[in-house]
Symmetry: C2
Subunit: 294 residues, 2 copies
C-alpha cells in the first residue's frame, strides 16, 4: 500500500511519541521532530508508511543510544495478555467453533498497537478482547481453516508484543509441524521480536525465525535472505496487523491478512470501518466485495 | 505562546485539510503538504502557532488562486448561529444574570473553530451552546463586568465566523459607545472577516475595523498601523479564541481572554481541561491559580 497524504501527520505524531519514550531530553525531541518533518517533505509516497517509520525509528535509536525504547510497554502488554490468557483458553475449550474463536482473539489482540495511537489504555484492550466474540469479523474463517488444512508450509508473521500471546492461541489450533512463526529482526515501536515470542511461549511450540529487518511491517527487499527463502517457500502466509497489510498487500503470494482496523486510511483502503476485525485473503479481490463497509 | 512540539503534527494536519478545501487537485494537496513539512522543519518555535499557519494558508490561497477556501463553511456557521439566535436571545432576556449568560454564550460559540478540528459537526456545536449555562466557566464574569464598566475604550477581537453572532450578544450587553470590534484583515481558516461582522449585524451596532493581517490570531507586528493604534489606545481588550490567546498572551496590555479550550496543548498551557470555557485576565497570574484544573 502506498503512503496516503493522511498518513503523514500521523507519522509525524508517531515520531514525536517514540522519541519521547526514548529520552527525556527535549532538545532531542525537537531534533528528531525536525528531521522527521524534513524526511517526510521529501518522502517517496509510493513506499508504504512503515518505510518512513523505519527511517525515523532507526534514527531515534541511533541518536538516543536506546535500542528498544518500547521495551517497558512491550513487557507490560505481554504481562497483560498472559494474565488474560487462562480465561480465554477456557472459553476456547468450551467453544462450539474453537477455530473461529481463536481467529477472533488473534484479530482482537491486534488492538495492542502503539504506532497508531500514542496512548492506549488497558480498558480499551480489555473491551476489544471481551467483545470480539460478538462483534462482526469480516472474512470467512471456515475458508481460512480449509486453507490452513490444505497448506503444507505455513509462515505466520506476527505484529505486536502482547498480541503475540493471542497469536499463540491461534497457532495452537494449527497443525504445528507445518507452522513457522516470524518476528521482526530488531525492535521498532512495540512490534514483537524474538524475546516476545519467547515470553508468549511460542518458541517451545514451533520454529521461530526473525525477518532480519527493523521496519514495522514486512518490506521483503529489506528482510534477510533466510527469511525471504522461508517466505517464498511457504504455500500459506498469515500476516498480522496493519504494518504487514501495508507492506504485503499486492505481493503475489497467498496471504491471509488478519488485523483490527485502527485508522481511517486503512479503513478506506480495506473497505471496513475503524474498529472492525478483518480476515482478508490476498487474492480476494477489491474492497467492494466485502460487506458491511464503513 | 510559543509553538509546542505537539502543535506541529496538528499544523500539518490543518494544512492538508485547508488545501483540500481550496482545490480538488491532489497534486496540489501533495505540494502544499510537502511545503508545510519543509517549513515546519525549519520553524522558529519561539513564534506562536498562528505564525506558521499564516505562512501555509497564504501559500494555499496563492497556489490555488482561491482567496477564501473556507467561505462556504463560514456562511454555514453564520446561518447556523443566526438560526439559534432568537432562542438564546429569549433565554438572555429571562436570565437573572444576563451578563453571565452572554459571556458563556460567547465562550461556547468559540467551539466553531475549523483550525483545531478539520471536521466539526453541527451536533457538537449545538451541545456546546445548549450546555454552556450549566457547564463550568473558569474565571470571574462579575469582575469582567466591572472592568467593562470602568473602561473607556474597549477593543473586542473576534475569532471565528458563526461565533461572531454570539459575540454580538455579549457586545449588546456593553455600553456601545465604548466598543470597537476588530476582525481579521484577510480570510484565513474560518476566522471572521468584515463580511462576517456584517452578517452578524455588528456593523450596525458598533464601529468594526480589521487588523490588516491574515494570521489566524493577532500578531501585533503583522497588523496594520491603524489597528495597532486602536490596540494601544484601548484600556480594555477582549480577545476571543485560541488563536488570539496564542498570539497575545504575555503582551503588556489589559486583556480578557475568552475562549473554549479545544486542544491538549492549550489545556496544559492555560491549566484547564479540553472543553472548558475560560475567561482569563492577562495579569491574572499563573495557571495554577485556577480551580478545576484538568
Amino acid at each position: 500500500m502506498k503512503t496516503f497524504l493522511d498518513c503523514i501527520p500521523c507519522l509525524i505524531r508517531q515520531s514525536l511519541a517514540a522519541v519521547r519514550l526514548a529520552t527525556p531530553d527535549e532538545r532531542v525531541h525537537e531534533q528528531i521532530l525536525r528531521e522527521a518533518l524534513q524526511a517526510a517533505s521529501q518522502m517517496d509516497l509510493s513506499w508504504p508508511p512503515p518505510a518512513m517509520a523505519q527511517i525515523v525509528h532507526r534514527r531515534i535509536q541511533q541518536i538516543c543510544r536506546n535500542g528498544d525504547p518500547y521495551r517497558a510497554s512491550k513487557d507490560h502488554f505481554n504481562r497483560l495478555a498472559l494474565g488474560l490468557l487462562p480465561a480465554f483458553r477456557r472459553q476456547l475449550r468450551e467453544a462450539a467453533d474453537p477455530w473461529n474463536v481463536a481467529v477472533r482473539l488473534a484479530a482482537a489482540g491486534n488492538v495492542m498497537d502503539l504506532g497508531v495511537k500514542s496512548g492506549l489504555d488497558e480498558g480499551e484492550i480489555r473491551i476489544a478482547l471481551e467483545h470480539c466474540l460478538t462483534e462482526p469479523l469480516e472474512g470467512d474463517s471456515a475458508e481460512f481453516a480449509e486453507a490452513v488444512a490444505a497448506a503444507e508450509r505455513i509462515l505466520y508473521l506476527t505484529d505486536n508484543a502482547g498480541e503475540i500471546v493471542f497469536d499463540r492461541l491461534l497457532i495452537e489450533q494449527m497443525p504445528r509441524t507445518k507452522v513457522t512463526v516470524a518476528v521482526r529482526g530488531s525492535p521498532v515501536i512495540n512490534d514483537a521480536t524474538r524475546r516476545d515470542a519467547e515470553t508468549a511461549g511460542l518458541t517451545e511450540l514451533v520454529p521461530v525465525i526473525d525477518n532480519g529487518s527493523d521496519a514495522p511491517g514486512t518490506i521483503l527487499a529489506d528482510c534477510s535472505e533466510p527469511f525471504q527463502r522461508h517466505f517464498a517457500a511457504a504455500d500459506l502466509v498469515v500476516a498480522k496487523g496493519q504494518g504487514n497489510y501495508e507492506t504485503l498487500w499486492g505481493v503475489s503470494q497467498r496471504i491471509y491478512f488478519l488485523l483490527r482496523v485502527k485508522c481511517p486510511v486503512i479503513a478506506r483502503d480495506i473497505g471496513c470501518p475503524v474498529g472492525r476485525m478483518v480476515l482478508r485473503r490476498s487474492d480476494s479481490g477489491p474492497a467492494a466485495d466485502f460487506e458491511g463497509m464503513g
